[in-house]
Symmetry: D3
Subunit: 190 residues, 6 copies
Amino acid sequence: MSEHTVSALPVPGPEALDEDLQKYFRICEEKLGLVPNVLRAYAYKPHRLRRFMDIYNELMLSDDSPLTKLEREMIAVTVSSCNRCFYCLVAHGQQVRALSGDPILGEHIALNYRTAPLEPRQRAMLDFAWKLTETPNDVNEADRQALRDVGFDDAAIWDIAETASFFNYTNRMAHGIEMMPNMEYHAMDR
Amino acid sequence: MSEHTVSALPVPGPEALDEDLQKYFRICEEKLGLVPNVLRAYAYKPHRLRRFMDIYNELMLSDDSPLTKLEREMIAVTVSSCNRCFYCLVAHGQQVRALSGDPILGEHIALNYRTAPLEPRQRAMLDFAWKLTETPNDVNEADRQALRDVGFDDAAIWDIAETASFFNYTNRMAHGIEMMPNMEYHAMDR
Amino acid sequence: MSEHTVSALPVPGPEALDEDLQKYFRICEEKLGLVPNVLRAYAYKPHRLRRFMDIYNELMLSDDSPLTKLEREMIAVTVSSCNRCFYCLVAHGQQVRALSGDPILGEHIALNYRTAPLEPRQRAMLDFAWKLTETPNDVNEADRQALRDVGFDDAAIWDIAETASFFNYTNRMAHGIEMMPNMEYHAMDR
Amino acid sequence: MSEHTVSALPVPGPEALDEDLQKYFRICEEKLGLVPNVLRAYAYKPHRLRRFMDIYNELMLSDDSPLTKLEREMIAVTVSSCNRCFYCLVAHGQQVRALSGDPILGEHIALNYRTAPLEPRQRAMLDFAWKLTETPNDVNEADRQALRDVGFDDAAIWDIAETASFFNYTNRMAHGIEMMPNMEYHAMDR
Amino acid sequence: MSEHTVSALPVPGPEALDEDLQKYFRICEEKLGLVPNVLRAYAYKPHRLRRFMDIYNELMLSDDSPLTKLEREMIAVTVSSCNRCFYCLVAHGQQVRALSGDPILGEHIALNYRTAPLEPRQRAMLDFAWKLTETPNDVNEADRQALRDVGFDDAAIWDIAETASFFNYTNRMAHGIEMMPNMEYHAMDR
Amino acid sequence: MSEHTVSALPVPGPEALDEDLQKYFRICEEKLGLVPNVLRAYAYKPHRLRRFMDIYNELMLSDDSPLTKLEREMIAVTVSSCNRCFYCLVAHGQQVRALSGDPILGEHIALNYRTAPLEPRQRAMLDFAWKLTETPNDVNEADRQALRDVGFDDAAIWDIAETASFFNYTNRMAHGIEMMPNMEYHAMDR
């Protein structure tokens, strides 16, 4: 653990950003009360930041997904728990608390989703996400069938797989450059 | 292993695609002689396909990266070897053969990069990619320092980390929906 | 996850307890505001409960240990994080928050102690606890020397080893009988 | 491996012990022909020794357990085999030989309990102990049901879980301070 | 990776070999177009080379095995993939291509046999070989029964087990002395 | 564990063996007092038995090895401990007891070689054998150098590597066909 509070690589000041990114950061401040550190860290590579925000917003925030926003956040936290990613556990744990209105559910998923009082549908979804994270080579048709058995269709299976896969990317970025979450998350929605 | 040749989830025919994607696929045919199956599989979710192509092209094909295209492909194959991702080993193994003009190098990286006759710089880069894939929680400042010791700067460290992280996403998508590579890759650049 | 709120095995009502245990539980209520569920679960076997309380109080609460109470709780949480023990992460995570007055420190240790801003002494202590938990057969004289190098003497090394070992016992009891923590812990000391 | 024959930490001479412990050690000598080295090592912390003996005797020697003493020792040896704890394999392996009158059974359990000619009841008991040791987070209701299916009731399930958990504590103490068993065990009950 | 092209230990020139081995190497040259580097490496210990050739030829080339030569080579490649043995993946991967006349099958087995379009019989055979390689202590009667269920008799089960076991020997020799395959294999039978 | 006492596959009676094997078995009876069950099990495939005996005798019994017979047996037991092979631990554990005249040494190596009071030369030899067994892909020049540092030359490094590799073969055969050792070994040389 080093002294930095955002990333082990350089983090540009907001004044150094292109106009579109400065605007985006201001909107974050207004809507969320903070600029997520992942964006500040990614601003080191502005083109990457734009791509990252595009794919992130499409996956996690779009309204036409077969998964609810809460379900997507539960997958994010489960994957991050498997990978022990402090950044994502803190940032997305807060999202689970906020979206569910259930602060304890967030703790269950962050610490050990198997202890959470889940519907079979959600449990199956998180079992798939965990397995795809921990032993991706063992995932096979039987695992997709287990999702179908609790009511997920092909479009949902895609999204479960892609959301879990995507957080295996972000978790590793956080580990790889030692990204630290905004401290504000810790106290929110407890 | 099922009977399909692209993905375990539905794959839309080219005629069902939006115009921009139809055009993109035609360009692939012309330039590469094939439409990579990853694009055909992703076409099941057109918005995701667009996001995926954006980030993929930015990471792997942009000209202003501190890593050569060959180095990026070597990282892709090393990560895919760790995750035993058949799709990416075949598709990106071919890229390593093509970009290096050395068919045996592709075999080394796909089967066991530690046996490859690599410069210390490349070996350090692949060691970092492997570790970030296999035990992300063990990556720390000493691993970044090992990259600096062979001459990589911060911008390069970012790209090594992000490329390795990204293939942990694509590898899991391939495992999660059982994506199969185009058969043409196998014979190319041997 | 089943429906119970304390344990998968029978939990006696307070009225069924021997007088000494009833009294102990009343003291818990008065001092802590709750009877920790581990005690209620252990009351299924009263003799074991008495032995458990003796050893627990000796290890975690005695005043003449070379480790502070906070340090002992940090070891408890680190071991429980390695074992993904929901009960102990919740109950002892609260203790770390309470004893340190630093709610964020508790999150760091519960989710990934390697991200916590620790003094070298504490980091070495937790590295030892983690290794003794995860790969006990790899612990050797070099690991004890690493503790000596940051100032721990033999008496402290014993206590680090015993505290870490003890939570490998309680974590497994919690997993083995599916013990659930009191819900009050979640909101305390945030 | 160092030169010591009891522990890597200081071991007080018998004359330095409190009267109650001196008496206890004399009784050991008379009854067992030796003072187990675990007691001599623990005497470095007399209060801990007293707690350790209390819980050990309650778990392993009490007459009102739903498990026979041999069964408890078989669990001890199975857990110690999983953790590769030399001290406990030697000391409790001897106990299995003595209590069963079957020296070969002790070898089976110490080296690989799956090769032992066991009744289904005992096999299920040791499978549970092994799993709780190796992958505690994977233990769930199905594992408890497997114990019920071969006739164990709740009280027995508790004792299987607690005995297995307890040896995960003692094994780690032995690894953590490099405890060595009395040499006399090796030749006994062959 | 060192500079050598055969082995990290000394490799005698052909002129230094005993007459029988010189003759054997000449036959290899005539029949295969090359002397496999494993033989050149083993020539450092001529008696061992003779024993190795005897057992290798008996296992892999004898005509009275219940397994086809292709099946034996598929086992060899599957085991070598699990152990990530570059030498055997290259040399026996070429054999799978040559014997099957299907260059893509060789890629499937070398990179991830679970993606190969296999008959249930072959899939069961390779599942057994993989498990015996990765977690030998978990192999039990149920695994042998799975082989019987797809039609293998006792004589075939023996050969599946022995072929898989044997390549756990050769893979480790290749890793242990850093054996490198003849470069000619890479281009053959593509 | 099944009921058989030699192997899960058919074991021919001695009268069914070819003359050379009958003679060999009679010599075993005379010299060792028993026919090792591995030979009785292998007699199911007489050609394989002959090859196995050839390579076994060359590796373990030849007089011109740079390793003593005891050292070769110590490697055999260490590898078998890593693989938890009951057959080889029992049969070769007895050999370590017999050749060393030190029954406790055999226990150390069978249960956990790291606890054995070994010379640096022997410790390095067993560390290499363990690593080549457990993580063969991690073995590299530094491991061979560690052997050179304690005085082993190239010829000895070969034999350490080959002996360790060979027992990865025999251990898997024993697991694969559930081979059981002769009961006489247990009591010998205690």
